[in-house]
Symmetry: C2
Subunit: 337 residues, 2 copies
DNA sequence: AGCTCGTCTGAAAGCGGTTTCAGAGAACAG
DNA sequence: CTGTTCTCTGAAACCGCTTTCAGACGAGCT
């Protein structure tokens, strides 16, 4: 940093101490307020700092303090509108506690994920794992590393790891209940990434749904993007489903786009229900029936749990946040044949 | 990091060197491949690393190497769908060059922005300033810090700073041309954040528009969110505008939502045109007429310019990326009175 | 005045790596 | 067999900051 050819040399604490005619220790004390210092020296230090434009080197501080002042967040896909809002909240919490936020994206690749987490652990005080896709075994191995970490939208039973998740099963159960009430009997579920915990949690709701008299068939769609939803429509139309449940809103929107192209009426001929409610808040007044989750609270709480973990090593019970059904325009009674 | 009470102590390079019966220097050489080392020692080192689960401390490496291996990105609003895609691309480029990405959000607050950039400079090899809102003077002061930095969507004349931007003026000119061609004569522009460079660039197009016979009135809306657009509709309806140009898509969508509530037909009674084309790619097949920008290329190029800057201090000419008009469903001929 | 105690300061020892530097051997030539 | 050169290794310095530790100094007490 300081010796880049052609760049002016970085000013260090000893430059300041020289200019202020005090020791480096004193400069440090003044800047961090860790001990009383004679007011005369204090102002000499401040003057020198200002004159020289001194900024402490974060790496050196981290090394000396044994703390990076940084938290790391790993998300599967930055471009998925779900995460930025979460990041926003996490970032705010981190900042409130004087920490920076490092962000990495795994591109939904479980193998890469492992590697990235390892890297995050090398440069962050704690890491937040958002919707990890990696196999349980790897996850457990990472947890064993004994590094502050909180899981987001994934619970690992028995591992005693702090985690925060949305009650996906509960949310999907509400969706099923809604459809059953409208009179639907058969629905198709456009599944998300395979081996995704969140997907499994959603699917769990379909058992209970049978009790409502709703039979849900899983259509492998295997993605969390609108493209995946768009492509999966064909399979749905071959079935006798009168409603489509999507892994998330993007998938649902993709499906709707395709249905519109095919002139299939939504919801007259086919109801489509999303999941996550990504569009509502930002792109005001979306009309997709979906279940919402307070992403901002989710991020905030996640950040707080991590912070808690960093300060006093107390581990917390897994936190579950409820989802809320948002009935809008894309769901209705089944078409009468 | 290593001495957190209750946590297992961090394993350091000297633990490895002891276990492998070599010097720390050799361990470093093996791990970084900076010099030939006897194959016997190499394998001893690798064994020790594996057995101990050694991971080099990033802060120590940063300090010793004089490089953090990190780039910083400052965005005004993470939740604005514009940025995640850019971040995604930047992150990919950074990773390809072995760097991590730090993200900060200024919440559209120019004052905070300055502070955050300073902080980023303390812990990143280079920083990418996305759409900085801060006053020119402050920006110049930061640029003077002689720290690798690239400006994104803002050009500071004469400062010789590498920058990459979208040709906002060109994009807006296309929009005006489109409207003029449809027969519009008077339009209202829902302005973005005041003191925003991007906003000024858009407004510049309105002069040229007069040549097309289109008179554009600026309506202070002062935000970049859908809420701002929603709220600004009232002012527009009081004018004689037959078309609305928005600072960005969010604003446009907010306006459309409000217009729908008020039962004003779009585009029959009022054309609405967005800017940025945020909705297209992710939330497939949006129907907003807008101008698009290859956000992903934007992010990628930005990352590359920064990397370039870090490697060999060569500064580049400002880069401008063109926008493309996307005519969709929300624009049409003006209503005949 | 002499002592103890408390407060403030600077020197120095880390933090965990990388890199320079010099020395030990091995290889080779004369 | 000796003298050079070359290759590889470890000791030590260093990166920039924090924190311990011990010492200097002044105040308060007997």
């Amino acid at each position: 940093m300081q010796n880049r050819p052609g760049r002016s040399p970085r000013v260090t604490i000893s430059d300041v101490s020289t200019a202020a005619m005090v020791s480096a220790a004193t400069v440090s004390r003044v800047l961090n307020g860790t001990a009383r210092v004679d007011p005369t020296l204090v102002s000499r230090v401040h003057d020198a700092v200002r004159d020289l434009g001194y900024r402490p080197n974060a790496a050196a501080q981290g090394l000396a303090r044994g703390e990076w002042g940084t938290i790391g967040v790993l998300v599967p896909d930055l471009a998925n509108p779900y995460f930025p809002e979460v990041l926003k909240a996490v970032s705010a919490v981190a900042r409130a506690h004087g920490r920076r936020m490092m962000v990495m994206e795994s591109d939904e690749d479980p193998a890469l994920e492992f590697e990235l987490v390892e890297d995050l652990m090398r440069c962050c005080d704690g890491v937040l794992l958002a919707s990890p896709r990696m196999p349980r075994a790897e996850l457990v191995e990472l947890l064993g590393r004994d590094h502050p970490m909180v899981l987001f939208n994934r619970v690992v039973a028995g591992a005693g790891v702090p985690s925060i998740s949305v009650d996906f099963t509960g949310g999907m159960t509400q969706v099923c209940g809604h459809l059953a009430q409208l009179g639907h009997r058969r629905a198709a579920y456009l599944s998300g990434p395979s081996a995704s915990w969140g997907n499994d949690e959603r699917v769990r709701a379909f058992e209970a749904a049978r009790a409502f008299g709703l039979e849900v068939t899983v259509v492998e769609c295997g993605g969390s993007t609108s493209q995946a939803g768009y492509d999966a429509v064909a399979a749905v139309l071959e079935s006798d489903a009168t409603a489509v449940l999507a892994y998330n809103d993007l998938v649902a929107l993709g499906a709707i786009a395709r249905l519109r192209e095919l002139s299939v009426g939504v919801p007259e001929e086919l109801s489509v229900i999303g999941f996550d409610d990504i569009s509502l808040e930002r792109v005001a007044h979306s009309n997709l029936t979906t279940v919402s989750v307070p992403r901002d609270e989710l991020g905030r709480r996640a950040g707080e749990i991590l912070e808690q973990l960093l300060v006093n090593d107390s581990d917390t019970e897994p936190v579950y946040l409820p989802m809320v059904l948002q009935v809008r325009d894309t769901s209705g009674p089944p078409a009468v044949p």
